[in-house]
Symmetry: C3
Subunit: 261 residues, 3 copies
């Protein structure tokens, strides 16, 4: 298993690419996380648009450089709208990210609709251990949007799942694991207070999309997004409380310099 | 009339309880306040989930440790969805909080739907003086989401209203009053700039839910949530403008130590 | 062409008016920008309410001191609801602002609905160069919500457009231009990082509404809102990253003193 960190040139090159190309990233996400998600993308230099409106999901879903779908967008989008965005990205060959937030927490009808999105072959799937085990057909046993399992507990499951679906799967935790089924990368560091900032996990889905849009190596791209997240949150760790931690996290995300020594 | 303050051990024990048990709190709220509401709950150690999606309102409404319904969630939820959440909580014996935001401001159809939620017997109702007087059947005369009355003007009305409905009613203002009709607690302090942070009142509804989830004495629990809010906003009072006040308020909420001397 | 700046007494008097009269401003906007928009209005002393709920758009649309409609509100509002708000304001003689965000980015059906709102004669229209050129019937060629043109490139178009529609049009950029077709005002300054704060442009639509509500000279009112925005963002320019810039911007907005020397 390979480790990726901020010292690796692949990470810095990926970030540099985003700053240079300012990829247009289109997302469907829930309204709790929408503001932070857009600010995360703007902080690294990407150009986000969020939301389903009439023909946006078809037009933006197929013309964006990358797309992300946070399943809890279903709190203000119809299943049809969400499927349109995923389908548009899939058909146009646009990389897209699925975040199956809260899957496996007991809401059967919701879980069924999220499962149905796998039909459109997400390039990458991200979530916590409970969500990903549930999505893969196991008993994840999450509570609402929180995981009850550690990230490494999901590793064998998501490796098999990635091989079966031909996608990249990334599980967040104190150590993040990113796998395509054959190769697995792990990312360490970060700050646990990121879990006390609502929408931080959801926003990572958007950031993964931005990294996927500019990279020839999707596995490294997904891992690089996790490295950048961990690095920015680590640099924010001197913040006193959860409010200023969130502000400082965004600051450091915007200040991360791909060319620093 | 009894006063409750940060010096009272009942308040600190209630906060300590939340940090220990991390109650899962489920809310329906408007998308203006959703982000702050979740961050307020995370700051004290609770685990929030927000939004109506397919069967979430039935499943989470009955399985959560507590539920809160901010009536302005109707801007993205149907009346049916909101009623499902309230009904699920009521039938499962889960304590739930109603925030009748903007009731009495002239929108008759909206007011009627909010009134209809009383059928599901909220454990506690919170709002400003205009809203609560209007909900109780009087002329509150609010302007949009702002009150035109002082909190003490609502006191006789909400005491009678609480007795009639068998619920706790809490009115926010420079002095907050929390009553079950027989006993009334008042809470002082805070910082007026909290009214310049959008969603701060709405988020208090979520915090009340968290306190209700862990307490055997609901009246004290609701009052304790007000004390914690006042205490955090007071500690944030050195902030220069409204932007950093909001950040500092969240910081102090997350830093409040139940065991401090 | 006239310049307006923070040194002009007309700007300070307009801001002073808002602080004194606390106008109730009603808005329909997208859920990404809703929180910031409300906080921007609260920071200068206005009283915002946001969202379409049953009869809110009719009641608040006609009773507010001013109304703003950000077209991307269509991501959670129906076309009918948005038209109700615009129509209510128009019929009641309430000044209202249209922000045609993302028009001209390729979503034909969305663009058609936004065009349809011109029927209700907005008092003022604000946007970036791509959006305004597209709204006026030209080829704006925006990418999602970003402009691909400089503000001065839109000037001849929006001058003709304002004359034709009898409205004020304001285009944002490093230099802002505000015109009624005959007179044109320009506003300089600000900080480019404002474009890295999601919803900052959308929130300016709300602020314009607040200024329109208290002024006898609508052109100056719209320009004054731009001056106040530029001034607050300039004072925030010592912020390190995009997160603290947003916080500092709100701080300075709330601290701007109409009576300072």
């Amino acid at each position: 298993m390979q480790q990726l960190s901020w010292r690796d040139s692949a990470v810095r090159e990926a970030l540099s690419h985003i700053k240079q190309h300012k990829p247009f990233c289109y997302g469907l996400t829930n309204y709790i996380a929408a503001n932070l998600s857009a600010n995360v993308l703007l902080a690294v230099g990407a150009g986000p648009a969020i939301g389903a409106v009439f023909d946006w999901q078809k037009v933006f879903g197929s013309h964006a450089s990358a797309v992300w779908v946070n399943a809890a967008c279903l709190m203000s989008n119809t299943a049809g709208e969400v499927r349109q965005a995923a389908q548009a990205a899939h058909h146009a060959g646009v990389p897209w990210v699925l975040d199956p937030v809260a899957v496996g927490a007991g809401a059967v009808e919701y879980d069924r609709v999220v499962q149905g999105l796998l039909e459109f072959r997400p390039t990458a799937i991200r979530g916590n251990a409970s969500e990903l085990i549930a999505l893969a057909g196991g008993e994840g046993g999450g509570q609402g949007v929180e995981t009850t399992l550690a990230s490494q507990e999901a590793l064998p499951t998501i490796q098999a799942f990635s091989r079966r679906l031909g996608c990249i799967t990334a599980v967040s935790g104190p150590t993040d694991y990113i796998t395509d089924g054959d190769r697995t990368i792990f990312v360490e560091g970060g700050d646990a207070r990121l879990t006390q900032v609502t929408g931080a996990g959801c926003s990572l889905g958007g950031l993964i999309a931005a990294f996927l849009s500019t990279s020839a190596d999707p596995l490294t791209a997904v891992a690089a997004a996790h490295v950048v997240y961990a690095q920015a949150s680590e640099r924010a760790s001197s913040a006193r409380g959860t409010g200023s931690f969130a502000v400082s996290f965004l600051d450091h995300l915007s200040l991360l310099d791909p060319h620093e020594a």
